[in-house]
Symmetry: C2
Subunit: 611 residues, 2 copies
């Protein structure tokens, strides 16, 4: 195994010799843009390496990179196979990446976490000084008003003697979290957590430096109880045991990541003093073990809305047992702390003009800010964008079709350049945009039937459109080219699912636009958040009418902004206060009772550029 | 089973038909004075009954009671056997009982616990009012600044619907402990707990009324790890598992009592919202699961000293899981919250003149107050007063010799009037006082050897003084009269144990007297606290020199004042604040390093009235 260090994030990953830099980046959770699926054709994955060992650029690299780039260690991440330990600098080229770099810098600059360490030299007890351990500690600490903590108090006799009365106190505000023997002030860690309905992500952060040490993700283990929030609520509402089970599952998943990341970087769970958590309202309720039953039926009443602090051991999160778990505030039953995290990371209260932010995950949350207002709504986008409910749908993993182009035939981008196993959200949007443009489906989403129309299609495209048992379907990949040997098709039902999902989102956007009393053209910028937003091709999103028709340059992807919000809250007590402010400031527009929504939804169903 | 209700305490006990009132009182934890051991000779156990069924007084009663008493339902508690449900009024005749009655009245008058109930009628959610459950509750509550409580929040959806939005919030200050369906404001309970080294006592209290519903006691299950605090500290210091084991044992014992008392009175554990706890410093550390290791060796450093609040479920105490457990403050390593409880109940800061309070349990704690000072010290009295380390020693239970008189022969008071099984603390003091007075032992505590001296003793006394294997011994009970058939004797070693114990206590008293710059004669009152203090015969205590020579009327027993302190802290937030004040005010005099102590101790060893 060799060690690759990504810069500037300082993420480290160990990989077998011969792994491509791109693959290493995927595994390390470092975002390197790539739209050609590792073929070396898009040229977007260029990175700079700092290896002492000489190496040769491939022919493909020589075509993609400039002479000066070739001279200064630039390579294509998908082409360069790693043979030894090295550092890789990821220059984030585009606006999104510019923002990313800014964001990383911002984290480092603003690092002023609520967790602080105080190295202390204590006097030793004697018959003349029988001061109790707790009082001895309090007298030495420069912070007043500290509440008694039984667990920490219980540890003092041993810690004092282990450190020979040289200790380090760990405080969160005026809560004493731990006392450690010796001077441990150099080590101070926390985790930012994004509890998604589908995926849970943990960012292990150095609170001293304000950097992400490493990150990891797993499928939310609650997935076994249903892909969407409603099926989880239904399960949880059966009883306390079921609620506890769901709570235990998600915390278990997080603990697994935390343990793995900690082990890889030599960081003990007891050195992780705080967690900042975002998630949609249902996920936050389940994470806290709070009954979400009444979130499901109207009037969708959550149990709580404000930001919440609990002790780690109260919910079983395996960081320091007395550590603080901060869950960011929710706005409403279907606009959760993940959306507040997005607002925080996007600095929605500080952006000039009018901003539209769309976070498409298992649900679609929409934020429209401007004119001193922050409007939010949530649409039941359904998990179609994440590949669920789609015949050959899958998550954006190895073998997923993530890009589709129709020319004389179908051209595909498959993740990791492997044989296709299925299609992910961005691939679906691409596919529908392309077959719509080519006339394979009508704007209403039906596969064309008229032989006269079909004859206009190129032969190889026409051959792919065929009758299945009940309706037509379109073959994206012939069996000979797929991983399983089976044809990968797009069914009429798949198209209907996408249609409902995209219709709900554009309708939600239009409702907020109306509420603010503007026209869509007055929107100054569109920020696409979420893993999905990162990979979507803007042309296709505009082409199928997922977004209002705006110039492409107004659209920017901002990555997992919800997770970025969690990082900010972890690193800065001020940002945490701002999250509370944003959640209170946000006006929630309930779509289920909105009289305009149905009309907008029907208008939004067609696959065409919006007026 | 029949039901006996004791007045004015309203304690209820169920007993088999034919049980004596005295026995019922013992089982109910109601103090009825009796010094003859149930023979009907002392006449101290007279009580007034209110039964409709006619009954006849016994001949013994007719001799003890006046005509007017006989006419108004007075009986001797030891003579009257219960045959049906009835109420028994205990007229507490002596100063100690006067104080007891005062105390009960005081509790009822001052009942202003920190736990309060608020019945609330909430509006119901609708699409127009999607207010989260927590916010809905907060808006209805007349108390501000309430912190989020995850456990309570988790219960809200069900509780709101069960009560059809009519609920009762239970607050401890501004902590929300529970929300219950319907109006439950009539039921509000708490427990006052005295964690003794030997015995743990629970008083189940009605916080609305300020009354003791019932009480119960068990042997501290930590007893299995040693009778004294040092052996428990030694065990706990072996490791975390051992510390947890001791913590679990004592909490387990308390839970057992709480469950039993609750069941008997139809009070659920979740209706017990608070516990106020006193105990010596070691017991308090162990109760909280805090390592007491460094309490054992000099300089006897405790981990904490202040009053502490923890959640019930944090330490496993089986009251409402979110309920508050308040542990009163300690003064020093060997002057614990039990002593602070004594100060609180005795109102040591409000007594005029100079007061000496001696609480003799497994340790002996001494308080001397006056001249605007509160002095405390602790002596390693050892468990001799509780019958441990004594050959035939036993606790003050059925069959224990609790009183001894020497006339021509030995006369005994045995608890419950049964055949003697052993001797308890008060019996020991009596025995030693009497044999000392009769000249069976010299003032230095040695059995007399000179035949000339022995011949002066009455025959039946002389016969009891005999040589054993190594030293002399004195037969208190001949085998034919004892429960086991074995002779019950007082050994030379027993006398030495008592001598060390009493020597330590009088020395401690004298150190405090000197520290205050007074003479013993300036002491205005002596209050004897603790179970032991309750039964001690004042003449004997003065006779052996356990206390300074003072007129007998200055000496008052005040019962389990430590437990009374816990009751006060439970019932009144002000009293709890006063406990903190008293603990801070108290000046601790460390005897182990006191240069005068050794001299005073040697002076105090002799069995004679103090100068």
């Amino acid at each position: 195994m060799i060690k690759i260090t990504f810069l500037p994030s300082e993420k480290v990953i160990r990989i077998p010799v011969g792994t491509s830099i791109l693959q290493a980046a995927v595994e390390a959770g470092v975002q390197v843009e790539s739209t050609c699926g590792g073929k070396g054709t898009c040229g977007k994955c260029k990175v700079q390496i700092s290896t002492e060992t000489p190496f040769e650029n491939t022919e493909i690299e020589k075509r993609s990179l400039s002479a000066s780039e070739l001279a200064t260690g630039w390579v294509l991440a998908c082409q360069h196979l790693c043979v030894q330990d090295m550092s890789v600098r990821v220059h984030e080229q585009q606006d999104v990446y510019q923002r990313k770099t800014d964001f990383i810098g911002k984290l480092q600059i603003m690092a002023a976490p609520s967790v602080r360490k105080f190295p202390l030299t204590l006097s030793k007890p004697s018959v003349e000084d029988q001061t109790p351990d707790w009082d001895r500690l309090m007298a030495a600490l420069p912070v007043a008003g500290i509440q008694f903590n039984r667990t920490v108090a219980a540890s003092l006799p041993k810690v004092f003697r282990l450190g020979d009365f040289q200790v380090t106190a760990v405080l969160d505000g005026n809560k004493l979290l731990a006392v450690e023997p010796g001077d441990t002030s150099g080590r101070c860690f926390g985790v930012a957590i994004d509890v998604g309905t589908t995926t849970v992500v943990v960012y292990l952060m150095d609170l001293n430096k304000g950097t992400v040490v490493t990150s990891g993700a797993v499928t939310n283990p609650q997935q076994a109880f249903g892909a969407d929030v409603i099926s989880r609520i239904t399960y949880a509402s059966r009883g306390t045991d079921q609620l506890r089970e769901l709570q235990g599952k998600v915390v278990g998943g997080l603990n697994e990541i935390i343990a793995r990341l900690g082990q890889e970087h030599g960081i003990g769970y007891e050195e992780i003093y705080q967690a900042a958590v975002v998630g949609n309202t249902t996920m936050a309720h389940l994470f806290l073990g709070i009954d979400p039953t009444y979130l499901a039926p109207a009037p969708f009443v959550p149990v709580y809305r404000q930001s919440v602090e609990v002790k780690a051991n109260e919910i079983g999160l395996n960081i320091l047992e007395t550590g603080t778990v901060v869950i960011l505030p929710n706005v409403a039953g279907y606009v959760g702390s993940d959306t507040v995290g997005v607002m925080l990371a996007a600095e929605v209260d500080r952006l000039p003009g009018i901003s539209l932010i769309v976070d498409i995950g298992t649900n679609g949350e929409i934020i429209l800010s401007g004119r001193d207002r922050i409007l939010t709504c949530s649409t039941a986008a359904g998990p179609a964008f994440e590949g669920a409910e789609i015949k050959y749908g899958m998550r954006a993993a190895e073998g997923a079709i993530e890009g589709v182009r129709l020319t004389e035939d179908v051209e595909l981008d498959v993740i990791a350049g492997k044989k296709a196993r299925g299609i992910c959200g961005s691939g679906l949007i691409d596919a529908i945009a392309e077959i719509s443009k080519a006339g394979v489906i009508s704007p209403t989403g039906r596969f064309i039937h008229e032989p006269a129309q079909q004859e206009k299609l190129p032969t190889s495209i026409r051959e792919r459109l065929r009758k299945a048992e009940r309706a037509s379907e379109f073959v994206l990949v012939w069996g000979k080219d797929s991983a399983s040997g089976e044809d990968i098709v797009l069914s009429q039902k798949d198209i209907r699912e996408m249609q409902l999902a995209k219709g709900a989102i554009i309708a939600g956007i239009m409702i907020l636009v109306e509420e603010m009393g503007i026209t869509p053209q007055e929107i100054d910028r569109v920020l696409l958040a979420g893993a999905f937003g990162n990979y979507i091709r803007k042309e296709s999103a505009l082409g199928i009418g997922l977004l209002p028709a705006l110039p492409m340059e107004k659209i920017t992807t901002i990555g997992n902004a919800a997770g970025d919000g969690a990082k900010l809250a972890l690193l800065s007590i001020e940002e945490r206060g701002r999250a509370d402010f944003l959640a209170k400031q946000a006006e929630h527009i309930e779509l289920s009772t909105n009289k305009e929504f149905q009309a907008q939804f029907i208008k939004g169903l067609d696959f065409k550029r919006m007026g």
